[in-house]
Amino acid sequence: MIRLKTPLSEEDILKLKIGDRVLLSGIIYSARDTAHKRLVELIDKGEPTPIDLKGQVIYYVGPAPAKPGYPIGPAGPTTSVRMDPYTPKILSRGVKGLIGKGNRTQPVIDALKKWKAVYFVAIGGAAALISKRIKSAKVVAYEDLGTEAIREMEVEDFPLIVANDAHGGDLFQEGVGRFKVE
């Protein structure tokens, strides 16, 4: 088990290999479909993004409402591949880690290698458990998007698995290949 703290350095990233289990702590940012669209529109226009993306980790999540006394509601990952059309441009701004669930497409795998970043999977459906590892959360951009707003979250020991590393590795392909029975 590898313990990491955000922001992630290039040195942290290059050490990670597919299949590594990571406990992540520190600040991460939530963003999903519409937030990605807006961020990429700003990047395309050469304008600053509402949060500085350099060295940061983005979590694809749309949490459930928080119960009274809880910093956030259940908050498991959403399907990552929907962000793939935007991801290479997001990585070009220095994002070092992506968290979601499910396979990525080749352009993202290539961009992770090019920009030295990793894709972690969180356990899809384990939303109640994950929310217990989120110590605080506040909306920092796009409040109008509701559950899809960009939130700054402080996490402690967020359990993750390295699915695509900065060396072109793909745990989905490797893992399924290992267990497939012809």
Partner: protein, 278 residues
């Protein structure tokens, strides 16, 4: 003619929405525990363990197990001796509104094009069925988007036969890989017509893990499909492993001589359904 109080229906639907999301079935928990014993992938075993811990936390703290609290799919069996001096459909809507608000459940229903959220998770999808007697059975089966997106209906040529159906189901799961949050539960509707096969596939997901089709032929089809799907190697969360699927349920209806409709409805490991009879 027996009457059932409108408020009782509202409260029952609300309670079922909350319970379905926060308290997963014992059958499912036992199946995931067994899967953990069988799984050979270390990563897969750890994932199944986290899934079990999550179910425990959700139940103890009354939190939805998954942040995607789904489309509220409601199956209603109406005893034909019942009489409703009010709008039953509207009462069910009200129950969904109440449950999703009071249970702090995520509201995920929006306009298909503008994507504007209805903000109360209505409308639910309601399937009514008339049955003999004077009871009202309500089942709420919240259904997540990620697994629903991997579902498919097709009308095959009759010549495709049972092997054609099996190939279609296995191929559909194989193309889904990690997306529907494996380990999955698979519902298959065979026969009927285009829309009825999809309804059957959804209804199949209401069964408890391990419940086999009463017809030995289809029970064998279920066992064979489960075995074939688990040979795909997709594994927990699609990262490789022996356990891709926890169970396969088939529902069957007669169809037109020219057609062989088949539908596959995939459920994630947060396979939710709760029932109550009034």
């Amino acid at each position: 003619m027996r009457q059932i109080d409108r408020n009782l229906i509202i409260d029952t639907v609300a309670e079922l929405c909350i319970k379905a999301n926060t308290e997963l079935g014992e059958d499912l928990v036992e199946a995931i525990k067994r899967a953990k014993e069988v799984e050979e992938s270390e990563v897969g075993k750890e994932i199944l363990d986290i899934i079990l811990q999550n179910i425990e936390i959700a139940k103890n703290e009354q939190l939805p197990a998954c942040q995607d609290c789904g489309t509220a799919v409601v199956f209603v069996e109406i005893g034909q001796e019942l009489w409703f001096p009010f709008n039953l459909t509207e009462a069910i809507y009200e129950g969904v509104r109440k449950g999703y608000k009071e249970g702090y459940l995520r509201k995920s229903i929006c306009d298909p094009i503008t994507r504007k959220n209805t903000k109360d998770n209505t409308p639910p999808i309601i399937h009514y069925e008339f049955v003999p007697g004077d009871k009202l059975k309500i089942t709420v089966a919240p259904k997540g988007g990620g697994s629903e997106n991997m579902s498919e209906a097709k009308v095959l040529a009759p010549a495709a036969g049972i092997e054609g159906i099996k190939d279609f189901v296995v191929d559909r799961v194989n193309r889904s890989q990690a997306n529907p949050c494996p380990p999955i539960v698979v519902g298959v509707g065979i026969g009927g017509n285009f829309e009825y096969s999809a309804y059957l596939a959804k209804k199949a997901l209401l069964r408890n893990i391990g419940d086999r089709h009463p017809d030995p032929f289809y029970a064998d089809v279920e066992r064979d499909l489960l075995e074939r799907i688990n040979k795909l190697g997709i594994g927990p969360q699609g990262l490789g492993g022996r356990i891709t699927c926890l169970d396969v349920f088939v529902e069957v209806a007669p169809c037109h001589v020219a057609s062989l409709p088949v539908a596959v409805n995939i459920n994630c490991h947060v396979a939710r359904h709760k029932s109550k009879t009034l």
